[in-house]
């Protein structure tokens, strides 16, 4: 019988040594030997991990609590960074529009909104000290937003185009059909005073006509979403989906005439 004598052990050790040497020299042997060893290695490492879990339970618990706090902090930082990233993208677009625009504009940030639901206004952080005057048009890089109705030294109120008090002379870009855009206090605008049989279609773009010098000619207002007849039956109206998302407006550009 094979006995664990010193001589046999030396022989086994030498054999192992040669196998290891051979495995490192012959690449073809490496892969099967690794594959064979994978299962016991996995098992042992799993045992070691579990064992370590018991031994270092308290240390791991503290570490986990610390990491959880850190993760929360990083998550909030990430949210903040995302917000800054989005703001940066918006400002970049506004700046690019400002540089391309053929007229002088003043950029302002929205700091407040109408306190009740009967008006659609925003309050901006710039006023007469920055050159803003009552009556100036407010736009964004997407299109027309409204008009300045009050200007203080360091703040101003802008009536948005979805307020029923604001009327903007406009034309349908394709057919040059004129009409008056007013607000509805809702999400959409309404293009009124169109003669019966006007050449308008759903999807047509509506822009400012330039008849009122306040609004730069050709500024985008929105696209026609629906067409209907007035109650009197004498004229047609069109529902317009505004180009600017008036509910979530954050920055505006005030047009200096």
């Amino acid at each position: 019988m094979f006995k664990l004598e010193r001589k046999n052990l030396i022989i086994v050790a030498i054999a192992c040594f040669f196998i290891v040497i051979a495995a490192s020299i012959i690449p073809a042997l490496r892969s099967p030997s690794l594959s064979t060893l994978k299962f016991p290695l996995n098992l042992l490492s799993a045992l070691r991990r579990e064992y370590g879990g018991f031994i270092y339970y308290r240390r791991n618990l503290l570490e986990m609590e610390r990491l959880q706090k850190q993760a929360g902090l990083l998550r909030s930082k990430l949210n903040l960074t995302n917000e800054i990233y989005l703001e940066n993208a918006r400002l970049k677009e506004a700046l690019s529009f400002k540089q391309k625009a053929p007229f002088k504009v003043i950029a302002a940030r929205v700091i407040g909104r109408s306190p009740d639901s009967w008006a659609s206004i925003i309050i901006i952080d710039k006023g007469t000290s920055s050159g803003i005057r009552r009556g100036m048009a407010a736009i964004t890089y997407l299109g027309l937003a409204g008009r300045v109705i009050e200007a203080g030294d360091f703040a101003a109120k802008i009536m948005l185009i979805n307020d029923p008090n604001l009327g903007v002379s406009s034309i349908v870009q394709r057919s040059r059909q004129e009409g008056l855009v007013t607000g509805t206090l809702g999400n959409n605008l309404i293009l009124r005073y169109l003669p019966e049989g006007s050449d308008i279609k759903v999807g047509d773009t509506v822009v400012t006509s330039g008849l009122n010098a306040i609004y730069p000619k050709g500024t985008l207002i929105g696209t026609i979403a629906d067409i209907g007849k007035e109650f009197s039956g004498l004229s047609t109206y069109a529902i317009i989906k505004p180009a600017v998302n008036l509910a979530n407006i954050e920055e505006v550009l005030i047009v200096v005439p």
Partner: protein
């Protein structure tokens, strides 16, 4: 003199109404915190104080609003007076009663505002009129217990 602590509370409520409250917008309507403050003042203070607080709240709302200046400044003390008189006739202590009172007050205020705007020539569809009046009244009534609770340190 503790009751004058209610003035900064009205100011904070007014600032909240034009800023953060915009996120609570539902069907184009938002709760009217300043109107709730008028109800609070009328229910917990004497007539003179409730009129003064109503005037201040109305003035603050008019500062932020477009159009005719003074409409809220006139209406708010009037609502304060009516709530004060009503509270002397019926005890309004329960939260649910207060919510009901705020609901009726908001409906009344918005109905008056809406009718005044329409009479001035504003074209507001009946659907939007109804939506603003009803939805805003519901939202304001729902938020009112919180405002009553937050303003308690000023009068308790």
């Amino acid at each position: 003199m503790k009751k004058w602590n209610f003035l900064p509370i009205i100011l904070v409520l007014g600032l909240l109404q034009v800023t953060i409250l915009d996120y609570l917008r539902f069907f184009y309507a938002r709760p009217d915190l300043l109107l709730i403050s008028v109800a609070v003042a009328a229910l917990v203070f004497d007539l003179r104080s409730s009129l003064i607080f109503g005037l201040f709240a109305g003035l603050l709302k008019d500062v932020f609003s477009p159009g005719v200046f003074g409409l809220n400044t006139v209406l708010f003390p009037l609502w304060g007076y009516l709530v004060f008189r009503l509270s002397r006739l019926i005890p309004i202590e329960e939260d649910i009663l207060r919510m009901g009172l705020v609901f009726i007050l908001t409906v009344l205020h918005n109905a008056v505002m809406g009718v005044l705007l329409i009479s001035q020539g504003e074209m507001i569809s009946f659907g939007i009129f109804l939506r603003i009046v009803v939805v805003q009244a519901i939202l304001t009534a729902l938020v009112s217990p919180l405002v009553f609770k937050l303003s308690k340190p000023a009068y308790s």
